[in-house]
Amino acid sequence: MLPTVLRKTVILVPQESVMFPGTVKDNISLALRIHNINNDNKISESLTDTGLSTTFLSKKAQQLSGGEKKRVSLARALALSPTILLLDEPTTGIDPKNLHTVEQRIIRFTKQRNLTALWVTHDVSQAKRVSDRIANLKQGQITTITTPNKFQWEEAY
């Protein structure tokens, strides 16, 4: 499978949200254009799924706050309708007030879209809050895979 095709299905949302030049709409539509997907609904739908209103579409992406950039970064991935999302610490840089909302948004859209999300986090309580299954990684090796209820705090350290 071509890497460009694979990356449309399995998308990594990096920890650092770098905005491309232009508006939020330009950011979301860039990959859609490359993959020949012309659908304005997808753009607004993916943005609202992350909790941002469509008024953001015309805003300059590079002038957004850290949390907003994070959501646009998620929306860029969602617009491509992937089947697997790789989320590298998706709530880094989001203020504690909005943390819960963003977590809930991610959980909601993954369920609605029937998406598998692999969520990397250092925060054990967050892992317990957001996941169906937790894999503990130690020095590059998975030591346990279990449910949030059975996961022992000590295992993470």
Binding site: P3, R7, K8, I11, V18, F20, L30, A31, I34, H35
Partner: protein, 262 residues
């Protein structure tokens, strides 16, 4: 016309002019600038190289074998240029695989146009200096564009990775940085072009004027030379951008490992 003295008389004049070198060395010693040694080395090395090439050219202009020897000279120019330029991308493996063909394609295209337009008669006294200028300038532009490209890619690694992670092909992901590197590499050439004749009289024209050529013809020739430099330079910079993609990205469209060592 031309310079009105023999090589021997020239040597005396050179020795007299060297008094400037002595002055610089004394000044450097006195002011503790620490450039005296390097300056002397540079003068002796550069001067020695010039004398050697002058002796070689004297021989070349007289022999009928010039048609074969000139290829050796041109090949040396390309190889030396390619390797010198490749040093700009320290961690890029086999960077000369980019620089050598880029210099070759850019400079050769310019020289072919010059030959076809009869600006460069096919005689060694025309081919060698013009090829020297074409290869030399293509080398500088190649170095500048490669250096800028690698720097831009490194500075924008996260942004490029974000594009790649959305399935955007490497060609599109590096497009903006290609443009920047080509533009940046041509800035000195274009600036020099804008100030031609105002701040300085450029090499080819100065040479022709000293040799007694009509100033208007000398100016025309200088413009031809600059067109060659700019044209060849743009082609070189574009070739660098095109060829560098294979070194910057892996076959799976990931950023290459060497970039993380920069």
């Amino acid at each position: 016309m031309g310079i009105p003295y023999t090589p021997l008389e020239g040597l005396y004049i050179l020795l007299a002019a060297s008094s400037l070198l002595v002055l610089v060395i004394i000044l450097s010693f006195y002011k503790k600038l620490g450039i005296g040694k390097e300056f002397t080395y540079a003068i002796v090395k550069g001067g020695g190289q010039l004398v050697l090439i002058a002796l070689f050219l004297t021989f070349l202009f007289q022999t009928k074998l010039w048609i074969f020897l000139i290829w050796i000279l041109l090949l040396t120019m390309i190889i030396v240029g390619g390797h010198t330029s490749a040093k700009r991308a320290t961690h890029m493996p086999h960077a000369f695989q980019i620089t050598t063909p880029s210099i070759l394609i850019g400079a050769t295209t310019a020289l072919i146009v010059l030959a076809l337009s009869r600006a460069m008669p096919l005689q060694p006294q025309y081919i060698i200096p013009l090829a020297g200028m074409a290869f030399g300038n293509s080398m500088s532009i190649c170095s500048l564009s490669l250096d800028r490209l690698v720097r831009e890619i490194n500075l924008n690694r996260t942004g490029i990775e974000s594009m790649l992670s959305l399935g955007i092909p490497s060609k599109q992901a590096m497009e903006e940085y290609n443009r920047l590197s080509i533009r940046a590499a041509l800035i000195p050439t274009i600036d020099r072009l804008k100030t031609l004749g105002v701040i300085f009289i450029p090499g080819a024209m100065a040479g022709l004027l000293i040799a007694g050529t009509d100033p208007l013809v000398a100016a025309e020739y200088q413009i031809i030379v600059y067109l060659m430099i700019v044209g060849g330079g743009i082609i070189t910079a574009m070739t660098v951008a095109f060829l560098a993609r294979k070194k910057i990205f892996t076959e799976y469209d990931q950023l290459a490992e060497w970039l993380y060592k920069e």
